[in-house]
Amino acid sequence: MSLVFQSLVLGVLLGGLYALLAAGLTLYFGVMRVVMIAHSAFLILAAYLAWFFNRETGIDPLVSLLFTVPIFFVLGVTMQRTLLSRLRPATLTMMSVLLTFSVALVIEGMLGFVFSGTQRRIRLPYGGDSLELFGANIPVVKLIAFGMAAVSLLALYLILKKTPFGQALRATIQHPEAARLIGINTERIAGYGFGLGLATAAIGGTALSLDSTIYPSLHWHWIGPLMAIIVVGGLGSVPGAAIAALVLGLGQSLLQIPMGTTWAQTIFYVALFATLMVRPQGFFGGRLAQRF
C-alpha cells in the first residue's frame, strides 16, 4: 500500500516537471505552429550548464538559473527571428520540424564533442536526503524540482493572464490576423513567446540535473513522452498539456510497479496512438489542433 502511495506521490512530482516542459512546447506551437523537436535538447543543454557551473564553482546548481534563464530567453528570441521566421509559410509546419531537429542534432553533437559522452551527475550535499510523508519516502531533490516546476507554471500562468504582453500573446495564439488588425506586432510577440518557451527548458533542465544522470543523447528519452503529452492534451492548449502531463506522469509512475521502468514508458506511446484513433485533435484541443 505504501508502495502505491509512494508511486502516486512520485508520479505527481514527475508529472509537474512534464507539465512545465510540455507547456513550453505548447507555447511554441501556439505562437508559430511549430513543433519544436529541439526542446528536450535545450533541456539537456541546460542540465549540462548546471552541472558545469556546479563543477567549476562548487555553488549550488540552482544558482545557474540566474544565467541560463535569460540566456535561453534570448536564444529563443534569436532562434525565432533568425531561423524559423525565414521558412516559407506554406511549408512552415513540416520544415520547422526538420529545422528544429537539426538544431537538436547540433546541440547533441556539440555536447558530446565538448563534454564527451560520459555520463555526468551532480553530487549534492542534500542529494540523498529524503522526507518521510505518511509512510512514503520523498527525495528532497524531487520535491525541489517539483517546486521549481510549480512556481514556473504559476508564473507562466500569471504572465499569460494578467500582463498586457500575455494578452497579446494569447491573442496571437488565438487568431494571428485579428491580432495584427488590432495593432499587435505578432512577429515580435511570437519571438518573445519562443523565448518564454525556451526559458521553461532552462528551468526544467536545471531541475532535471538535480537528481538524474545526464548524457548527450538523453534528450531522445524526453522528446517522445513530451510529444505524446502535447498530442494527448491537444496541440496548442496549455491547460490540456498540463493535465495530460500529470495524468501520464502518474500513470507511468504507477505502472512501474508491475511492469518495470522500461515497459512503463510505453504508456506515453499507447496513449498517443489511442488518442489519435479516438480523438485526433486531442482531449483539450479545440478547432486549432485539428488542422495540424
Binding site: 513543433v35 511549408t91 509546419t93 513540416m94 517522445g224 505524446a228 485539428q290
Partner: protein
C-alpha cells in the same frame, strides 16, 4: 522573368523528342556507372561503402513515396527498415525458408503492419504525423531492446548469410551491390509509374493543398494510406536486404531516428519532387557520412555536420539540387511543358511579389494567405501568372 515566355515558342516542337533522347542517354550512362562501379572499386572497403550508399539510396527512394508525393515528412522511417530487417532475420533464423523469400515476406509483413499505423497517423496533418513517426521509432527501440528472448536485445542478433561460406567478402559485397541496385531500379520504376498516373496526380494535389484536393473529389485518405504502405514496403525490403548483407542487427542502430533523418536529408537535398533526387542525395550524404565517420572517428562531430547540413538545406534549398539545376537550364531559351508543376509555396511567393509591385500590402506570413482565393480570380493577374510560369 515574363520576357522569357515570348521568345520560347519556336523550339516547342523540337524539345520533347530531344528531351527524351537526352533522358535515355542519361539513364544509360547512370545504369552503366552503377553497374561498372564494383569492377572499378579499388578495394573491398570502397566496395562496401558503395553498398552502404546503395542501401541509403534504396531507403531514401522508398521514403520519397510518402515524402515526395504527399509532402508528409516522416522522421521515423527507420521503424520500417528496422522491422523489415528483424522480420527477415527472424524468419531466416527460425524457419528454413529461402532467405530471399524471407526478405519478401518480411516486406509484406511490414506493409500489413503499416496499415493500422497509417490509419492512426494519417488522420492528422503535418505536425502530429511527424510526432507519431518519431514516437514509433522510440517505442520500437524500447520493445526490441527489452524483448531480448526474441530479438536478442542489446546484444544484437546475428543473421546467417544467404550465400555460402565459400563466397568471399569482396564477392559478397559485389553481389549485394547488384541486388541493391536491382531493388533500387524497381523502386524508381514504381515511383516513375505513380508519378505519371492519375493516382500520383491526386497525391501531388494533396501535397500542395489537401483541402482543395479533397474538395475536388480526391479520396485523400485512401491515397495517402496507399502511398504510405507502398513506402513502408520498399523501406522494409531495403532494411531486410541490409540485414542480410551486414549480418548483424542492433536495436540502437536499426531503430534510430538518425537513420530516418538520413532518408529525409538525402531526399530533400536531391529534391523530393524529382525521380532521381533521393539517389543523388544518398550519394552525396552517404559519402559525406562515411567521410566524417572516418575523419572524426568516435566523436559526436558527425552529428554536428549532419545537423548543419540539414539546417542549410531546409533554410536555403528546400526544393533540392535537381530542381535548382533544372530551373537554371530552363532559363535558357527553350520551351518547357505546357503544364508545369508548381508548389503552393512558389505560387504564394509569386503572388506576394505581385501584390508588392502593385502597391497592395504584401500577404502576411501565414499559411492561410497562400490559398487566398481572391488572388486566383483577379482577371488582370491571370495573364501575368501565365507569363511567370512559362
Amino acid at each position: 522573368m515574363p520576357s522569357a515566355s515570348s521568345s520560347a515558342t519556336p523550339a516547342a516542337t523540337a524539345a520533347p523528342r530531344g528531351g527524351l533522347a537526352l533522358k535515355l542517354v542519361g539513364l544509360v550512362v547512370l545504369a552503366a556507372a552503377v553497374l561498372s562501379f564494383p569492377s572499378m572499386a579499388p578495394n573491398a572497403f570502397i566496395l562496401s561503402v558503395g553498398v552502404v550508399i546503395m542501401s541509403y539510396a534504396v531507403l531514401a527512394t522508398s521514403w520519397n513515396f510518402v515524402g515526395g508525393f504527399t509532402g508528409y515528412i516522416s522522421l521515423g522511417h527507420a521503424s520500417y527498415s528496422g522491422l523489415g530487417g528483424y522480420g527477415t532475420a527472424l524468419l531466416v533464423i527460425h524457419t528454413d525458408i529461402n532467405p530471399w523469400i524471407a526478405l519478401l515476406l518480411g516486406g509484406l509483413g511490414v506493409a500489413v503492419l503499416a496499415v493500422p499505423i497509417g490509419i492512426a497517423s494519417l488522420r492528422v496533418r503535418g505536425a502530429s504525423f511527424v510526432i507519431v513517426s518519431i514516437a514509433l521509432v522510440l517505442i520500437l527501440l524500447l520493445v526490441f531492446q527489452s524483448w531480448s528472448s526474441v530479438t536478442g536485445g542489446s546484444n544484437g542478433l546475428r543473421v546467417p548469410r544467404p550465400f555460402g561460406t565459400d563466397v568471399l567478402r569482396p564477392e559478397q559485397h559485389e553481389r549485394f551491390f547488384y541486388i541493391h541496385a536491382a531493388l533500387l531500379a524497381v523502386a524508381l520504376l514504381c515511383w516513375w509509374l505513380i508519378d505519371r498516373s492519375r493516382f500520383g496526380m491526386g497525391l501531388k494535389a494533396i501535397r500542395e493543398d489537401e483541402d482543395k484536393a479533397q474538395s475536388l473529389g480526391v479520396p485523400t485518405f485512401n491515397y495517402k494510406l496507399t502511398a504510405f504502405v507502398v513506402s513502408a514496403f520498399f523501406t522494409a525490403l531495403g532494411g531486410g536486404l541490409y540485414a542480410l548483407w551486414f549480418g548483424f542487427l542492433d536495436p540502437i542502430f536499426q531503430f534510430s531516428i538518425l537513420v530516418g533523418s538520413y532518408m529525409v536529408l538525402m531526399s530533400l537535398l536531391g529534391g523530393i519532387r524529382s525521380l532521381f533526387g533521393p539517389l543523388l542525395g544518398a550519394v552525396i550524404v552517404g559519402y559525406a557520412l562515411e567521410y566524417f565517420k572516418n575523419a572524426y572517428g568516435d566523436t559526436q562531430f558527425h552529428l554536428v555536420a549532419l545537423g548543419l547540413l540539414l539546417a542549410l538545406v531546409v533554410l536555403f534549398m528546400p526544393d533540392g539540387i535537381i530542381p535548382a539545376v533544372t530551373a537554371g537550364i530552363q532559363r535558357l531559351p527553350r520551351q518547357a511543358a505546357s503544364i508545369r508543376e508548381e508548389s503552393a509555396a512558389e505560387l504564394a511567393e509569386q503572388r506576394a511579389r505581385k501584390h508588392a509591385a502593385s502597391d497592395v500590402p504584401p500577404d502576411e506570413r501565414t499559411g492561410k494567405d497562400a490559398t487566398n482565393i481572391s488572388a486566383h480570380i483577379q482577371p488582370e493577374n491571370a495573364d501575368e501568372t501565365q507569363g511567370a510560369r512559362s
